[in-house]
């Protein structure tokens, strides 16, 4: 199997930066060991597709758009009226299994892992940094752990996922990954940050 390369390889030599007071209040890095599959139905086949996916994965799908459900290491997100994004870890690649279960007339299964880069930011000030470019409410009451949103960052499409109280993941198009990286590290400068490549092996 071909190995996916990181488009952020060329920024890996950049160093961490001190913020005000010489502190490094945030950690920023890339996560690589994940897979993403999009499953989408036609409006007339939505119920049938959901039954099929439930049966194939042995899970319940989240009920409302914007809801995410963690099942083991899998994360199932309802991203649209008849559309789901399913994240898995490591060798748990479910695209082939879903493709054989979902007939073309019922819907589509699209592997998106190769097209996205995941950049994460962790720390008490993450929300303030992200708020400099994202215009959605990231308050933990409105956007707690496992909340996600498809939104825009300076005209580029981005999925933001809150993976813990202090940590957010940005899934961005591979072609915009370096630009997003530059934006994020620039926005984080006042707080200072430590680069962390441990999840980017």
């Amino acid at each position: 199997m071909l190995e996916r390369s990181s488009v952020l390889a060329r920024v890996r030599s950049e160093g961490s930066r001190d913020g005000t007071g010489g502190l490094r209040r945030l950690r920023i890095g890339e996560t690589r060991d994940w897979n993403l599959v999009q499953v989408a139905a036609f409006s007339a086949t939505a119920a049938e597709l959901e039954d099929t996916v439930c049966a194939a994965l042995g899970v319940e799908l989240p009920a409302r758009v914007g809801d995410a459900a963690a099942v083991g290491t899998r994360l199932l997100c309802r991203t649209g009226a008849e559309q789901f994004w399913i994240f898995t870890r490591g060798s748990d690649d479910i695209a082939a299994a879903l493709q054989s279960a979902v007939a073309p007339a019922m819907g589509s299964v699209t592997a998106l892992s190769h097209s996205r880069t995941c950049i994460w930011i962790d720390g008490a000030h993450s929300r303030e940094v992200l708020a400099r470019g994202l215009s959605i409410d990231l308050d933990s009451d409105a956007f707690g752990p496992h909340s996600f949103a498809l939104t825009g960052l300076h005209h580029t499409p981005v999925m933001i996922l809150r993976s813990s109280a202090t940590r957010f993941e940005l899934y961005v198009l591979r072609t915009f990954a370096v630009w997003t990286w530059e934006w994020l590290t620039d926005a984080a400068l006042p707080y200072g940050y430590e680069l962390d490549w441990t999840e980017s092996a």
Binding site: A81, S135, L150, G152, P157
Partner: protein
């Protein structure tokens, strides 16, 4: 800033959306030979100063097409519904301009 309430994703800045044209127009049938009808459809616009019924696509969100009623003089949004649920209630649901732009999927 203009904010639109996507029935699926919630209220977002207009920058996540793409304007898709007048939602009250009815496109002539493909085989229609009446050139005046085509001329009026393609070129003439009511260009309302007041409440305008128009298409928007939530390009950076769920990518659904919406029908929005917006006051062009004040940017106050009167209503927002999914274009698919507006079928039958509006003259036509056939978004025109710029349906092909890079989005989230």
């Amino acid at each position: 800033m203009l904010r639109l309430s996507c029935p699926i994703c919630g209220t977002r800045d207009y920058t996540e959306f793409h304007y898709g044209g007048d939602a009250r127009k009815r496109r002539p049938e493909h085989a229609a030979a009446d050139l005046k009808a085509w001329h009026d459809y393609v070129f003439l616009f009511d260009n309302v100063k007041g409440v305008h019924r128009e298409f928007w696509q939530h390009l950076l969100g769920c990518r659904q097409w919406l029908v929005v009623e917006r006051d062009t003089a004040s940017n106050v949004v009167v209503s927002t519904v999914l274009a698919r649920s507006a079928v039958g209630t509006t003259a036509s649901v056939s978004p025109g301009a710029g349906a092909s732009r890079e989005g989230n999927t």
